[in-house]
């Protein structure tokens, strides 16, 4: 009994790590651009497709495919960032919603058009199970947890010490003042978007070996998993997002075990409603961005 609970918590932490890497990008984009990026799951999908394409067509090893997936997504993010995301800085909230929804549809359907709508089989990665403290986990899942920690520590260091990170923090707090003191807000917005999309892609390529199937519509589910996380974490709050992702991952895992797998997807929004009743601004303050 106790063993099972611990095992489910470990499972939850693995799912939480995946959610965290995707959600942190989305929350950073919200912090800087004030727009919920409804196309975020699509960058997760693009990263996965990039890696799948590299393995399937060029027979490249998995680590190289990871780099290709992330870089290809970053390149697409540069294009979308220039044409769409930079223009919604300071625009009304509806513009951001519609623009990102539009981008989501275009990206998803382009992939379906090019590669077909069916599931693809992702054959890379490290799927051999290993025993850690009596629990069996695929090597890939251990990799996901490690990469998740590296990403968060890296982001923390970046926003605290680097010039770009400091500028991101400043923009997320007050766009007008930044513009007044000479910070190139559009440039910061573009870079935040590229980093966010890149992280979503990274999460996609890391999970592909354990999720096995790859298809054009896979991003939608991720976007809707990520939404409650970033709201719970306090929109724009990076550390809050990490904690919220872990809470959701563990809650989902326990619900799937003790209530039923079919209720798993309801956990996110049910937890969100409970949290919002108690703390309308989310678990963590939106003022304490980054």
């Amino acid at each position: 009994m106790f063993y099972t609970i611990i095992e489910q918590v470990v499972n939850g932490i693995v799912s939480g790590s995946v959610y965290a890497i995707v959600a942190v990008g989305m929350t950073m984009i919200f912090g800087v651009l004030r727009a919920i990026n409804f196309a975020h799951g699509e960058y997760y999908m693009l990263g996965t497709f990039g890696a799948w394409f590299a393995i399937e067509y060029f027979d490249l090893p998995y680590p190289v495919a990871v780099v290709i997936g992330v870089v290809a997504t970053a390149v697409i993010a540069v294009v979308v960032g220039n044409f769409v995301m930079q223009r919604i800085v300071g625009a009304p909230a509806e513009a951001g919603v519609l623009a990102t929804l539009g981008v989501a549809l275009i990206l998803q359907n382009t992939v379906i058009l090019v590669f077909g709508g069916s599931y693809k089989f992702f054959s890379g990665g490290y799927i051999e199970p290993v025993s850690v403290f009596g629990f069996t986990l695929a090597e890939q899942r251990i990799l996901i947890i490690i990469v998740g920690l590296i990403v968060f520590v890296g982001l923390e260091l970046m926003v605290t010490y680097s010039r770009m990170g400091k500028a991101m923090r400043a923009v997320s707090q007050n766009i007008e003042c930044c513009a007044v003191v000479g910070i190139d807000v559009r440039h910061i917005a573009l870079w935040t978007f590229i980093i966010g999309a890149g992280l979503a892609a990274l999460s996609g390529v890391l999970t592909a070996p354990v999720n096995v199937s790859v298809y054009g519509g896979m991003g939608e589910l991720i976007t809707f998993k990520t939404l409650p996380i970033i709201i719970m974490g306090g929109l724009g709050n990076v550390r809050g997002t990490f904690v919220a992702a872990m809470i959701l991952g563990i809650a989902e895992s326990l619900v799937a075990t003790y209530v039923g797998l079919q209720f798993r997807d309801t956990v996110g929004f049910a937890t969100l409603m409970l949290v919002l009743m108690w703390r309308p601004h989310g678990l963590f303050s939106a003022q304490a961005r980054f």
């Binding site: 499972n11 709508g117 999970t207 354990v210 999720n211 298809y215 799937a256």
Partner: protein, 395 residues
């Protein structure tokens, strides 16, 4: 100004109605162009697009064969696809579009039971013959023929037979009595388990845990570790082909691969699924309507031709759609007309030689068909026999 505008509106409206009448007039000449318009509703996009692609290829290959041989009663078959995206809402609108705009004579569809159930009342209202080739929920033919919907036929075995045969094989040949359920949360997955429960007492068996997953689910580990600890001897899975490799890989992770086999139906036997999780698929038991390795000359010829044509081995959906188009063509030939009433009557009394045996329909418009039982042994599907069972319709 207002009056002028509304006058203009009136004129435009009248013109449009006129146009509509003219175009309906054109459509009324349905099939007078000498073709048989055959609608095919299937998921052409979305997560189940793979099934739609196979269905369409199967149907198109059959249509081409018939057309190359001079057509049916001198008419060429024109397959007109409609995308259901695997959802009832899209399936119904695709069906309406095929009936109203494309003026099809007959419809084949859908792969998904939920979609077929939603299409039934639509074709009934329109009086268009719906020949289902791949849905297995028993309700589809409970409600058809003497059950009410006279325009629905099904050329596919039902989950009631499937559940019975799988359970029988597992109990008698493997000695299993304790099961866990992991099925897809659709009319197909739920119905298969409903009927499994109906036959459990017959084999003195029980279900220890029961879980249903949403299509697109990728994390089964929580449930699989619950199953590992439950004492189940096998996992009853009625799901889609795309989930089987994920479940298999995660069974390896939680350490039940090779210990607790999968039984039911989720295309355990496809090469890519076995390749994804060879250890988990070993010993999997599946009841299928057909599989590429089925040993009959007609079936083998189909596999060879399909593989040569599309450079990919056919799956179950490709076969059933190919066979169903041929079946419909035979009914049209026997009716000597494409009149729907006549074709329906011909179908009711048909004796058609399919690749898996003779097809006849019962009073619920359900084809009497065998199910093929197979087990994965040494990484290859091995056919254990073809079994037929009469359907126990509710009184």
């Amino acid at each position: 100004m207002t009056i002028e505008l509304s006058r203009r509106g009136f004129c435009i409206g009248t013109a449009l109605i006129g146009l509509q009448t003219v175009s309906s007039g054109a459509f009324a000449a349905r099939s007078e162009d000498g073709t048989v318009r055959l609608g095919l509703v299937a998921p052409m996009s979305g997560p189940n697009a793979r099934y739609g692609a196979f269905s369409l290829r199967g149907a198109q290959m059959a249509a081409k064969e018939i057309n190359d041989a001079g057509g049916v009663g001198g008419r060429k078959i024109n397959v007109m696809p409609g995308d259901s995206q695997g959802t009832p809402v899209e399936g119904v609108s695709a069906t309406r579009r095929l009936i109203d705009q494309d003026q099809v004579d007959f419809i084949i569809g859908d792969v998904s039971s939920s979609v077929t159930l939603a299409m039934q009342p639509v074709v009934e209202d329109a009086g268009v013959l719906l020949l289902n080739a791949a849905s297995s929920n028993p309700m589809i033919t409970y409600k058809a023929g003497v059950g009410g919907f006279k325009w629905t036929f099904r050329n596919y075995p039902t989950d009631e037979n499937r559940s019975l045969l799988v359970l029988q094989y597992a109990a008698e040949k493997k000695g299993f009595t304790k099961y866990s359920v992991l099925s897809v949360d659709t009319d197909y997955g739920r119905a298969a388990i409903h009927f499994t429960k109906k036959y459990l007492p017959r084999f003195k068996s029980e279900i220890l845990t029961e879980d249903y997953y949403k299509e697109g689910e990728v994390d089964f580990r929580s449930v699989l570790s619950k199953i590992r600890d439950s004492g189940a001897q096998a996992i009853i899975m009625y799901g889609n082909a795309d989930s089987a490799p994920i479940v298999g890989r995660q069974m390896m992770e939680v350490g039940i691969a090779g210990k607790i086999p999968l039984i039911g139906n989720a295309e355990f036997n496809t090469a890519s699924t076995i390749k994804a999780a060879p250890k988990a698929m070993e010993g999997a038991i599946e009841a299928a309507a057909w599989l590429p390795g089925y040993d009959s000359p007609k079936s083998k010829a189909f596999v060879d031709k399909f593989t040569a044509e599309y450079r990919e081995a056919p799956n179950n959906h490709a076969y059933v759609h190919w066979e169903t188009v041929h079946l419909l063509a035979k009914a049209i030939e026997q009716a000597k007309s494409i009149d729907r009433e006549k074709v329906r009557a011909a179908l009711s009394g048909i004796h058609y030689d399919s690749a898996v045996g003779e097809v006849t329909f019962d009073d619920h418009n359900q084809a009497r068909l065998p199910m093929i039982l197979l087990e994965i042994e040494g990484g290859k599907p091995v056919v254990k026999g073809a079994y037929k069972a009469e359907i126990d319709y509710p009184k």
